[in-house]
Symmetry: C2
């Protein structure tokens, strides 16, 4: 596929890593970046993550129509405010890397109305606790899932372009309806981030635990806690944005969690007996679901 | 330190790995194992995890007094039923690898009464989702924390022996009171295992999620879910035993979790406003606690 001029609007870890992936798979493509600060602009040019960089102040001078591909890598809220300014009727392909889809697709539908357009919403399922273009990772998108969501009047051409683009940089793709995406992601991504964060705060509030933590110079936790807390508290701004966009499904997933945890907790109410068979069945079910979800069996 | 005859009573992953560690650090020590089945006995002898192996049926023929060190690597409930049969007054050092301490230490105190004895309860903070001696890992204990709990009348000699033993095989040690151990472990280990298991079951019960999972051949989950579910549903028998022994602290930790999760959930009740500052403060607190607990700052 041909790719000569790409605009990456917002160049943090995701956008920066995308630039590295484009440089690898499309060595002739020129990358232009839009960033927030002069400092970022300088750092991006120094690291050669883009040939040209604009700050937000210059953004009026950007002609979207001159690019083959424009990728928005900004929080969803900023993106939604940008969509109404997209030119209609040119051949530029638009994409975003948003973590939720309903709000984006609604804004796209509203903006383009009945016109066929080339906007496809993408969600590459990868990332890092690190932030900023300095943390850009070569190969971040390799072997990762990228979910593609086609708005109602998105063109088949744009959808095929998007699929081919992501596959060329090494991702594998599936298409998902916006609502299905947001509900599924609440359960497999947003809820896990909430749970990890709360877990750390629960341990952090227990005085006995924190006294022990303070009494020694090395961590008292094993691999279980380490894994369970890796994503805790990371990237607050991004998560607040995701939670806002997906609050209905997130609430449902939290309620489901509280419900199942309360059932488990109540197995211990009886001081003398413990329903071991019930715990065993909860454990076995988790093992089965884990294998199904992670395709290990 | 001198170590010639070691008995490892119960040889699964932990006991088998301990045998490998002893072979490395004490090449002259002879290891004897007690196992449940003839099949295990055969497999252990074939893999040279022990020079001699007894099944439970032969256990009457074992003279604890002939060993320098006896390590119990059985579920806590089996251990507690074994403690009353320990001979008093010999120089053998007794240890266990139990994941909870109060029940064990109470049984030890009850059995030895006012006599000074050589029983030290140890909790090496490591493991694996795998089970059985076939899964024994060389170096499992290297660079891991081993918590040592001295019962009221445990000898200083035994405590020093235990410390030196674990340090020789590469662990680092701290001593902890039994009750403090059980409360701390509820928060940094037992609760995380419950949370991981419930999380997988919550995702597994959501139809939209499972429809998407079923629709494709590769996992739709990212690194977050993978890490958060790694310990889910593993080793049901062991965990049921731990939960039984530590149910009061486990209940407290679950209640704390439900309380903090409910507070978070209620931040989303207002359909129009979201208390972003509050979410930010929860996220920042988690980051701070994570750094403190894991000593990364």
């Amino acid at each position: 596929m041909k790719l000569e001029h790409v605009l990456i609007y917002g160049m943090g870890l995701m956008g920066g890593s995308l630039s590295l992936a484009i440089r690898e798979s499309f060595p002739n493509a020129k990358v232009t970046a839009v960033v927030r600060s002069l400092r970022s602009k300088q750092s991006i040019l120094e690291k050669k993550l883009a040939e040209t960089a604009f700050t937000l102040e210059d953004k009026e001078n950007i002609d979207f129509g001159q690019f083959d591909l424009v990728v928005f890598s900004t929080p969803v809220a900023s993106l939604v405010s940008l969509i109404p300014s997209l030119p209609k009727g040119n051949s530029t392909i638009y994409m975003d890397l948003g973590s939720t889809k309903q709000t984006i697709v609604e804004a796209v539908d509203r903006h383009f109305g009945e016109y066929e357009h080339n906007y496809i919403s993408a969600h590459p399922m990868c990332g890092s606790e690190q932030t900023g273009p300095e943390a850009a990772i070569p190969g971040l998108y390799r072997d990762k899932l990228c979910i593609l969501t086609k708005p109602k009047h998105g063109s088949q051409f744009a959808m095929e372009f998007a699929k081919k683009f992501w596959e060329t940089i090494g991702s594998w793709t599936i298409s998902m309806d916006a609502k299905v995406h947001d509900e599924t992601l609440a359960y497999v991504s947003h809820l896990p981030h909430v749970i990890s964060t709360i877990l750390v705060n629960v341990a952090g509030k227990n005085e006995t635990t924190m006294d022990q933590v303070a009494s020694i110079t090395r961590p008292i936790t094993g691999g279980g806690f380490r894994d369970m807390s890796r994503i805790a508290g990371s990237n607050a701004e991004m998560w607040i944005s995701i939670f806002k966009e997906n609050k209905t499904f997130l609430k449902h997933s939290i309620d489901d969690f509280i419900e199942q945890l309360t059932i488990f907790r109540n197995l211990f109410l009886d001081e003398t007996n413990l329903d071991e068979a019930k715990i065993k069945s909860i454990w076995d079910l988790a093992l089965k679901h884990k294998e199904t979800i992670q395709k290990t069996k």
